[in-house]
Every structure is written in C-alpha cells, then in structure tokens.
Symmetry: C2
Subunit: 335 residues, 2 copies
C-alpha cells in the first residue's frame, strides 16, 4: 500500500525532461542560462516526479548551507520568544534556522554538535554556559554569536541587553513616582543576577537612597519567599529580578491583603508574555526579544559574509508601564 519510493534525483528529472543533469540543476536553482521553454519543461517534469533537491548533496558540493544553528533552552519562555523572532529575521536574510534544544539531560555541548553536524554555517547560542575556551574552540570553525551573555572572550560575537541601563530605567521610574524605599529582590545564582544587583546598588546611591537587597531567585517560588520577608517591613516599591519572581512576590502580597499598586509598587524584568495578561498587567523592563534576535542573526550573517572581527552589540532595554506601579503612598518617608 504505502510503500516509500526512492526519492527522485536530478538524473531522473533530466531523463524525464530530455535534458542534461546540469541543465536541470540550473533551472532548479533559478540560475540564468536556460531558455524559457526548456525551463518550463524541466519545472513541469520536476513537479510531476515530486522532485526535491537533496540538501546533503547540494551542500556537500557548494559548501554553503544557508543554515544558522540556534541553541536554546526549551524550558525558558523568553528563549521561545527569541526563537520566533529569529526565524522571521533569518528568512528575511535568505537563511534557514535549525534549532537544537538544551534540555534536562542534554548538555549545551551536545546541542552544538548536532547543529554543526547538520551543517550550520554559524552558531547562535542563547545564554551560553560553556567556558570562554570552549566557545573559542568552536569559534575557530564557525562564527559563534552569544546571546544574552557578553563575557565571552574576543573570538566570539555577543549580543546582549544592557542590564545596567534596564535597572536604571526601573529605579528612575520609581523615583519619579515619589518612591524612596525601593527594594531589590535579586536572582540568586541566575545569569546576570550579579549585574542587575550591582546596577541597582549604584543607581540607588546615585539617587542618594539606601539600597536594600533581598535574596531571591528566578522562579515564582523564590518571589513568594522574598515576599514573606518583605512584609515584615514593607517598602513602597519592589524591583524583581524577573517577571516570574515578580509574580511570586505579588501573590504573597495579595494573600496578605496588601494591595498593588496602592500599598506597594512591583516592577518586573523581561516583559514576558504573561506580564501582558489582563489579570497580571505587570509593569516590566523589556529586553525586546525581536530586536535581540534580529541583532544576533544580523551579526551571524555578517560574519558568514566575511566580516572579519567579532564584535559585541549591546541593546538598551525599555520600560513597559502597566498597572503594578503607581505613585508612592503619602506620608511614607524613609530614614
């Protein structure tokens, strides 16, 4: 019944159309050098046979794959947003993207192997955890672009978001609303947690305010825990490490009857999809996934096309104000 027939080759199409292999190749690539009539005849034959070029053979010969390898972590919603955007950008530049996920039992190194095996011409790695040396090793073979991490040595490109600027936006926004007691719930050991914490400290001091950091983490649970601690001596505003943490903080406040933003303002980071939900409406610092993705794809393509030296691109995040931040409550002065 459903037997798998051998895949037709250039030769089959050539015979069917009564021309040479080479000419079929010309027609299929849309290259110049074929008469219009013949072109039509060949295309007809090809579609009759259900011909589809074997990319292995094609790429073996031409050594161009037009393929960008993208390694991401399947458990991170933010990565998924970047993946989406990368597809769009790549296809606009005439490239395809192959994905490889870093999952539970699947280390980054493995994901990269796979990408190279299918012939990616460049690697885009979201938040690489590999050592600088390992990254450099791969960079000798193909251009490597690191996304969301910038301390990757000078052999690999990096595209990242300016954490300091993001936190500065957050602090400025809250200060301009009259807040003075602004606490930061940090990301614990998560990537870029250190940067954001330090940025928070310097920005607070710049405003001549007292920085207070409560330790947290990247998940809702971490936010919950931090929220409990904060209730003992409630500040007027909280800057969370990310949106998920913010969600936990808010949940803990709500359970205690603390109202947001009347009693306390909460600001997230990432502007994740769920921040937009009607019942969340979380104000957040947006890293703008589409822009980051576009920049990464752009770098990768430039490098493939011969741009000599790697460089680093830093994008400035922006603030998305929704319903969880408001003016500081009256008569709440600090130290």
């Amino acid at each position: 019944m459903s037997e798998l027939q051998r895949r037709p080759t250039l030769m089959d199409v050539a015979e069917a159309a009564g021309v040479s292999r080479a000419l079929v190749s010309i027609v299929m690539r849309g290259a110049p050098g074929a008469a219009e009539a013949t072109r039509q005849r060949v295309l007809q034959a090809a579609s009759d046979l259900g011909y589809r070029a074997d990319s292995r053979a094609r790429l073996l010969r031409s050594s161009r794959t037009k393929l960008l390898g993208l390694a991401f972590s399947s458990s991170q919603p933010f990565h998924a947003e970047i993946v989406d955007a990368a597809y769009a950008e790549a296809s606009a530049k005439g490239y395809e993207i192959t994905l490889s996920a870093v999952a539970g039992g699947r280390p980054e190194a493995r994901a990269i192997e796979t990408l190279l095996d299918v012939g990616a011409e460049a690697l885009i790695i979201i938040a690489p955890t590999l050592s600088v040396d390992d990254l450099a090793l791969h960079a000798r073979q193909v251009p490597v672009v690191s996304l969301l991490r910038d301390d990757v040595g000078d052999l690999v490109d990096s595209v990242s978001s300016d954490d300091h600027a993001g936190i500065a936006l957050a602090v400025d926004h809250l200060v301009s609303l009259g807040h003075r007691r602004i606490v930061h719930v940090d990301g614990g050991t998560a990537v870029s947690s250190d940067k954001r914490r330090e940025a928070y400290r310097t920005e607070m001091i710049r405003h001549r305010l007292q920085p207070v950091v409560v330790s947290g983490g990247p998940g809702e649970e971490d936010g919950m825990g931090a929220g409990q601690i904060l209730q003992a001596d409630l500040p007027t505003a909280v800057i969370a490490f990310n949106d998920r943490s913010a969600l936990g903080i808010m949940e803990s406040f709500r359970a205690a009857g603390i109202s947001i933003p009347a009693d306390v303002s909460v600001l997230g980071y990432d502007d994740s999809n769920f921040a937009k939900l009607s019942y969340v409406q979380l104000s957040s610092v947006s890293q703008d996934a589409p822009l980051l993705a576009a920049a990464a794809v752009g770098r990768a393509v430039d490098r493939i096309d011969g741009a000599k030296s790697p460089g680093s691109v830093v994008r400035t995040p922006h603030l998305v104000i929704r319903k969880t931040t408001a003016r500081a409550p009256e008569g709440n002065s600090d130290t």
Copy 2:
C-alpha cells in the same frame, strides 16, 4: 588572527597517518578490519588534526541520517515539555532530533520543508493543523507521526491521549468527592475541545447528573470571562479545558472572594509545569508528555526500521490531585 581554517578531511588524516582513506574511514566508524597498532596511529592523527566527519558527505553516501524531524509550536509550553522528553528517548534509540518551530509567521508547511531538507528520516508533528491530504502527501516520502491529533487518515501514524478517559477521570474524581453540580468550561475552537466537551456530557449523564457547559477558550483570559459568568450561580466544581483556563477561572473567583477549594473545586487539564507551583497547586489531568513523546519516537523509529503499516497509539491520561479539589460543601443539593 582568528581565520577559519579549512576543515580537515579523511584524506588529510590518511596522509598524516600514512594509510589509505578507506582505512581511516574504517577506524573512524569503529568498524572491524584494522590492526590495533594502526588504529591507534590513525586515531592519534585524527585528533591531532581536529578531524570531525562531515555528516553531509557521510549521509549522502550511506543514505542514513539517523535524524528525526520534530515540528512543534514555540508558543506552547506543553510542546516544550514534549520536545525535552523526545530528545531523551531519541538518543536512547540512537537517533538525533532536529527541531523546527511553527511560529507566528512561519506555517507548518514551511517547518516541514526545513526538516526534510536537512534529511530527517521521519517526521513527528505535534498537533498538526495540515489537512489529511497534505499529511498523506508527505507520508508517501517519509513516515509521519502525528502527536496529539488522531484523525489523520490511515497513511500516517498517530499518538494521542484519550480525551474521553481523561474527562471521565475528572468527573469520577469530583463525583466521588460528593460533587453533583459540576460545570465544564470548554476550549472554544481549540483542538480537542469538541472531544472533551462531548466526553463531559456523556460522563455526566452516565452519573445521572445535569451537564452544564460554559464556553471558554485555551487562555487565561478565556477562563477569566467564564469565571465571571459562573459567579452568578456558583456550582460546586468546575472542570476547565486546560490549566491556563483554570488559572483564569481561579483568578476571577479569588477576586470575588470565593475560596478554593472550600466554596468550589477547580480541575485543570494538561498538568503543565505551572500547575505544580506552590501557590497554584492545581489538581489536573495529566497527559504525561514524556510518555507521549516516547511513544511517538518509538513509532517513528519502528516505521523507519521497516514496520509496514501505520497505526495509532492512544495513551490513557491520569489524575494528579493537588489542592484545588476537595469534598463538596455540605447542603448544596442540585436540581
């Protein structure tokens, strides 16, 4: 400085080791037919040169890619869970997986093209939206396994979860807790919404209870809307189309001061990652992503290895009871 050097080939290794190309090939594949001493010499030369087999050439020749193509939707967290599990299962069976995402501007057809282009030997498509005819078309070329959808004709395999059994579990559970006024908030136009709604109806009738369906959808917002409606005449239990909808329903109840599960029990569907969160603790019907993924990969590999006819596998979901379901409140009799 960082110039990309030409990738070393079998020939280079052969010269370095002073043997023929063929022998190097034998050694690299670990095939029998080389003396131990030579084998070591070749391996040494290979690692000195940093040799890594060109899979395009290899696969062109052997016409085996050991590659499974997996198409998924990047915006669905549940798909991500399946992807994770599929990786593990595939590598246990000696296969690699290439991913292709169905994203905003990127239709399923495009994703499939890409998978075939890189040489996938079989296609696993999560919740395919393609027509039965289109699927059959691809199935003539490679084995195709449909995940989470079973009406796909008899040329393609399907692995799905038994929606009727899942809903039956849900209804039975609530009935056993003494609930009689159980409402279903459906999934609107979402895939398998019809099936779950019908299953709910028959199961309710089987228990001689009055089925009541409120129309909803797959997102939190849809749940919110349905929650508002339900408040007018509160039932003792709600079965949501999925977890996200359940979350919306709960949020709407909470805002109205209705307590869960004291006043009303809420049951989700999917057992998503967030259902486990400490402040959610949602009871839910689990479709068991790892099992589904394993079954799909298993089918794909069997078909590649020559299993003749496609078949369909249906897995039975199970119930995960957490904190949102409890005994029905006393003295709340129905019609």
